[in-house]
């Protein structure tokens, strides 16, 4: 009864909770929340246990992954096998997801207290948690994909939870379809991988698709465009990650997804599900990073560059990275950094408190991709973990603000909340500083610092480093803007628009909401310790390398220089933000401070670079046009062809009829008529008069006699 044998309990617990909740009557609120939270506590305990086991095992056998595989069904001569695994990456994610999940479940009890569909909400949440935890332990690309789809499905259900709101229903649909575009690429990648390698297991005693034997085969099979199968499959899989993690150009769904209840935004669209794409890249990292080792006609061997590179990054930074960087990783890096920069820019000009955070999430996910692409699993995943905590914190803080302000989401109508909501303000400020990357005391600083380190030492180009710095600058700036709008200055109530709402003073949220906030705030500060350059515990744990405490590392000029850069941009961003927004007008309708400085840029950003509009004009219209074309073809072309065939048949039938009527029938009639006439004529002979018959008999006898005489004579 080892832990690995029973690992499947971790996702199954919330699944059972979801199943039971699904059949509970709507009124059993206590039961549904209790079940969901209880199952998450169970999952958390299991995850902690698994974490301990994985840590022990990693010490004893570094680089070995524990797996359990089983057969699902037969395809061809082989069985489709699924399985689960336990390695440091999984262990870390399990703990994060179940811990953050648990806090958000508790918080939801307060947030959703007045909702009529409370039970259904917890059913969906538990289902989500089950799928997400299943995704983490999957040892097969197929099982991962199955959970991946379920995660997407629950995300759809939860975004559209208030489906009576047309915007929520539309957002849910948009999210599902947009991510589905990426998912199909992912599915094709799986199909391709299966037909190349014959397995979709990650690890299978040397025969898994992430192990060297199969990777070598994948690299050596090159298609007509000169791209190896490994690269093609990696790119297709990455496209799936792009969809789920809201990377450019499939990021459009994530901000709209904020139509869902705020705990959902915190859990799914900040901390866990959107990180699944990043996790996918990390999980398939050997595939992503696989490059054939160079020439000399040596048998193809594999180097997984950045995996080991990550832990020794401080030795190699500054010089060109050793070894080649795979195409897939270049794509990952560039996609990440462009997304980070773009989304940070858009966040600057948004006014909805949750949308700002949503764009910030997109941007931070870009940072994670950048970290994965340049620094390897440890670097990217460290930012994922720290981000999960402080972003969940920010979202729940935003939820608390929205709750306290009676469902107002527009930051222009808030203000001065630091007095009426002190706990929320304090925790939100911690989250904001972690996100902005305020030096030394906040986890965000250290995880971002690791990314900058890696990007700085990245072989192919130095650009990502500078673009990343720019994105960090913008991050500090927009977060300062948001905090100024929401918490500082004077209150800018009343509620916009209708005026039906009574002017109610904002109030602090109940303890069931603020306690999780405080716990997350503590994590947002403390987690940074785990990944400093002096003691990179996290990177070494996930990367499977040895760990030393080396204070000198922290003082090396290189480290200091990069930390200096990073601190500088943060201070600059916060400073400019404070300068512009500290004393904003108390009129909610007044134009934005930035808008007064540069209206053109502001409007470009406010409209999110018009990506939605571009899609509407191209993809959506093209699609609709095509669909209409198909429908047209359906009614006119095919139906027309059939109609034509039908008319031709009818025409032919007419010809046949004419033929029948005037040729066949005519002759037939004539024949029949002739026969009839002939019969009439013949019947006249049979007139019943004996004399007439006798006369003919007489004639006959004479004729016979004559014939006989004639015969005898001869």
């Amino acid at each position: 009864m080892s832990v690995i044998d029973n690992l499947w309990w971790i996702p199954v617990l919330p699944l059972v909770a979801a199943g039971v909740t699904a059949v509970l009557p709507r009124s059993s609120r206590r039961w549904s929340a209790g079940l969901a939270i209880g199952s998450m506590v169970g999952a958390l305990l299991g995850s902690l246990l698994a974490f301990g086991v994985a840590a022990d095992f990693a010490q004893a056998h570094p680089g070995v992954v524990q797996v359990r595989n089983f057969s699902w069904f037969q395809v061809g001569e082989t069985w489709v096998r699924l399985g689960w695994l336990l390695d440091p990456l999984t262990a870390v994610m399990l703990v994060m997801v179940s811990f953050v999940g648990l806090l958000i479940f508790i918080y939801s009890v307060g947030y959703m207290a007045h909702d009529a569909n409370f039970t259904r909400f917890f059913c969906f949440l538990s289902l989500f948690a089950a799928a997400m935890l299943g995704l983490l332990i999957a040892n097969s690309l197929l099982l991962l994909f199955i959970c991946w789809e379920l995660v997407g499905l629950t995300s759809y259900l939860l975004i559209g939870f208030w489906f009576q709101k047309p915007s929520a229903a539309a957002a849910a649909k948009k999210a599902f379809i947009t991510t589905r575009v990426g998912d199909i690429a992912f599915l094709l990648g799986i199909v391709w991988l299966y037909s190349e390698a014959g397995t979709v297991l990650f690890y299978d005693r040397g025969a898994g698709c992430l192990e060297t034997g199969v990777l070598a085969d994948l690299l050596s099979s090159v298609n007509g465009f000169g791209i190896s199968a490994a690269t093609s499959i990696a790119l297709l899989v990455f496209l799936g990650a792009v969809g789920k993690s809201g990377q450019f150009p499939l990021h459009v769904w994530l901000p709209d997804a904020m139509e869902g209840p705020t705990p959902v935004s915190a859990l799914i669209h900040a901390a866990t599900m959107v990180a699944a794409g990043v996790f996918l890249v990390a999980r398939t990292y050997p595939l992503m990073a696989a490059v054939p080792t160079v020439p000399d006609h040596a048998p193809p061997a594999i180097t997984t560059t950045a995996e080991t590179h990550a832990s020794i990054v401080s030795e190699t930074h500054g010089e060109a990275a050793r070894g080649a960087v795979s195409t897939a990783l270049k794509v990952v890096t560039w996609t990440g950094v462009l997304t980070a920069l773009m989304a940070a820019g858009i966040a600057v000009a948004q006014t909805d408190i949750k949308r700002i955070l949503a764009y910030s999430t997109v941007s931070q996910l870009g940072f994670m991709m950048l970290g994965l692409g340049t620094g390897g699993v440890g670097v990217g995943m460290f930012h994922l973990i720290t981000h999960a905590f402080f972003k969940a914190l920010l979202f729940m803080g935003a939820g608390s603000v929205i709750h306290g302000c009676h469902e107002v989401q527009d930051i222009r109508y808030m203000g001065g909340l630091r007095r009426s909501m002190p706990v929320t303000f304090a925790t939100y400020a911690v989250g904001m500083m972690a996100l902005a990357g305020v030096p030394v005391f906040f986890s965000g600083f250290w995880s971002k610092d690791a990314i900058f380190h890696a990007a700085h030492g990245w072989g192919p180009s130095a650009m990502p480093f500078y673009l990343g710095l720019a994105a960090a600058l913008l991050t500090a700036f927009y977060m300062t803007r948001q905090v100024c709008y929401v918490f500082f200055g004077e209150g800018r109530n009343p509620v916009p628009g209708d005026g039906h709402h009574a002017v109610q003073a904002p109030h602090e949220s109940p303890g069931v909401m603020t306690v999780p906030l405080s716990i997350l705030a503590a994590c947002a500060v403390l987690l940074g310790v785990l990944g400093t350059p002096a003691w990179p515990w996290f990177q070494s744990f996930v990367g499977g390398t040895s760990l030393t405490l080396d204070w000198a590392e922290l003082r090396s000029t290189e480290s200091l220089r990069i930390m200096g850069w990073s601190a500088l941009v943060v201070i600059l961003g916060i400073g400019v933000g404070w300068r512009l927004y500290a004393r904003i007008s108390s009129d909610p309708k007044a134009p934005d401070a930035l808008c007064r400085v540069r209206p053109d840029i502001y409007s470009l950003l406010e409209n999110k670079f018009y990506v939605d509009e571009i899609y509407a004009a191209t993809v959506v219209r093209g699609h609709a046009g095509w669909a209409r074309l198909c429908a047209w073809a359906e009614t006119w072309l095919w139906a027309g062809a059939v109609q034509a065939a039908a008319y031709a048949t009818v025409g032919l039938s007419w010809c046949n009829r004419v033929f029948d009527e005037y040729l066949v029938n005519f002759s037939f009639d004539r024949l029949c008529g002739g026969l009839g006439n002939g019969g009439g004529w013949a019947s006249r002979w049979q007139n019943g008069r004996v004399q007439f018959y006798l006369r003919f008999i007489g004639v006959g006898v004479v004729l016979l006699a004559l014939m006989m005489i004639w015969g005898c004579r001869a």
């Binding site: 069904f73 037969q74 789809e149 379920l150 379809i177 391709w192 095919w638």
Partner: protein, 507 residues
């Protein structure tokens, strides 16, 4: 014993035909009993050791002069499909519980249709096969023409004509094969061993394949399907999509592919990048997937959406069949089952739960009715069936389509990518239909006369609930544990009937 599923259905049909018209309840129960007994008899084939291998059920001389025998048999593929037929038959009866007019005749025709379908799936003599195949058209026509809705005479006639055109093509091919093999036998097992000349197979294959595939909704010969589905009464559209379309696909697999496997070989020249019938039919299959989905996306009639989605899903079957890979063939057979169950369920929800209560299928009107609130059960079932239909893992569609795509990847990677597009659109039209029909917030105003619509529908009845749950559970069971069918399908494809196909390069 499995042969009794044919006989019991026809016996039921006879009894029902002579039942007085007033005995409505009695007719329903007889029909339900017949359907259950049919499934039970079909199930007996699943129990002997080695179920899935070929078992002979009956062999008698029929027309000795021409070598026709009454030969019934069952293998894994037949077994899968007769189980599907049994399930669909039961659920069809349950969803027809509210038929009010000429009830005994309705169920008599219905049972006769089911009996012929069992007959097709169990015949291993080509002439017998063809007789049952033709026999199925007759009750189908009357079911639609008498009990149907929108443009029923047109739909029924179109369906019958398309079917007969297909049959004619098949008959020509079959007689040619019979004559060429020496005119001794119609026994499929023996004909499949006969080495027909390549030139003959080259024209006989497309003839017979298309002849059957018309009934399977092969693009662009599919237009009978949506109109037929829409015109048919609920139970008939469930059978039409669930089982009748499978007759065509089954014929393609059982007759066209086994008798004329060399017809798939390359022509030796290229026309518009098509180098063989395999390419042509693969392309048509993929076109069906994408085009069907596209058309479904812009329909205003709820039932048309499901009708076109059937065309789209049957495209996967055809793509799998011509992929010439074991994986693809298995996927195709599994997809037959999966689509039968899911499409049956969707038609049940739309035809029975929604249309019979709201008396409209127009999205513009439905969206004002807030059916999500007044019919929560229907809404939930449609959501689940919709997720199954869009290939959500956990339901049967995912496993089946995944295998088809995997199997087809080697032969046509580009078509697989094209089909991927179809999957995305599949999500779009399902969500669109779901939202417009159940979760729309449009103001409840009747477009026709301008006054507000208020619908207080009768709640979903128990027969409907049971029928929906049976189909849903079947899809889930196969999706979670595909082995319950895959083992049989696997053995069915390993029988000697497919030897020629295997020699012909099945991978």
């Amino acid at each position: 014993m499995a042969a009794w599923s044919i006989y019991i259905s026809f016996i039921g049909a006879l009894v029902l035909a002579f039942l007085p018209r007033s005995r409505v309840a009695c007719a329903r129960w007889i029909a339900l009993l017949t359907a259950v007994a049919g499934l039970a008899f079909a199930f007996t084939a699943a129990f002997p050791a080695g179920a899935g291998n070929f078992h002979e059920l009956a062999r008698h001389d029929w027309v000795p002069g021409i070598g026709a025998t009454y030969l019934l048999g069952v293998d894994g593929i037949s077994l899968t499909l007769i189980l599907l037929t049994g399930l669909a038959a039961i659920c069809g009866v349950l969803f027809s519980w509210n038929v009010r007019e000429r009830v005994p005749e309705f169920f008599a025709l219905y049972s006769a249709l089911i009996g012929s379908v069992y007959g097709v799936f169990l015949s291993f003599d080509l002439l017998l096969f063809f007789v049952f195949y033709e026999l199925a058209i007759v009750p189908k026509y009357f079911l639609i023409a008498i009990y149907g809705s929108t443009r029923r005479e047109y739909g029924a006639m179109k369906l019958a004509l398309y079917s007969f055109v297909g049959s004619a093509m098949v008959l020509v091919g079959l007689l040619a094969a019979y004559a060429l093999s020496g005119g001794q036998t119609f026994d499929l097992l023996r004909l499949a061993q006969h080495p027909f000349p390549r030139e003959f197979q080259m024209w006989a294959f497309p003839l017979v394949f298309v002849g059957f595939a018309i009934l399977a909704g092969l693009w662009p010969f599919h237009t009978w399907a949506p109109t037929g589905h829409v015109a048919a009464p609920t139970a008939a559209s469930m059978l039409l999509a669930g089982v009748i379309m499978k007759l065509g696909a089954y014929g393609c697999l059982r007759v066209a592919l086994t008798l004329f496997p060399r017809g798939l070989e390359p022509w030796g020249f290229q026309v518009l990048a098509f180098g063989s019938w395999q390419d042509v039919f693969g392309f048509l299959g993929a076109m069906g997937i994408v085009s069907g989905a596209m058309v479904a996306l812009v329909q205003q009639d709820f039932k048309f959406v499901i009708g076109y989605s059937s065309v789209s899903h049957m495209g996967f079957v055809l793509l799998g069949l011509v992929s010439l890979s074991t994986v693809g063939l298995r996927g195709a057979v599994l997809q037959m089952f999966s689509h039968g169950v899911i499409a049956g369920l969707l038609f049940g929800v739309v035809g029975r739960m929604v249309y019979d209560r709201a008396h409209t299928r127009d999205f513009a009107l439905l969206s004002g009715l807030r059916l999500g609130q007044s019919l929560p059960f229907a809404a939930i079932i449609f959501c689940l069936a919709g997720f199954a239909s869009m290939g959500m893992p956990g339901f049967s569609g995912f496993v089946a389509e995944l295998q088809v795509l995997t199997g087809a990847w080697h032969a046509f990677p580009w078509l697989v990518m094209l089909s991927g597009l179809g999957l995305v659109i599949g999500v779009a039209y399902t969500l669109r239909a779901m939202q417009k029909a159940f979760f729309s917030d449009a103001s409840g105003v009747d477009a026709g006369n301008g006054h507000a619509v208020s619908l207080d529908p009768e709640p979903v009845t128990w027969p409907e609930r049971i029928g929906a749950l049976i189909l849903l559970l079947a899809s889930l069971a196969v999706g979670l544990y595909p082995r319950i069918l895959m083992d049989w399908i696997e053995r069915g494809l390993a029988t000697p009937v497919f030897d020629a196909l295997r020699l012909g390069g099945l991978t």
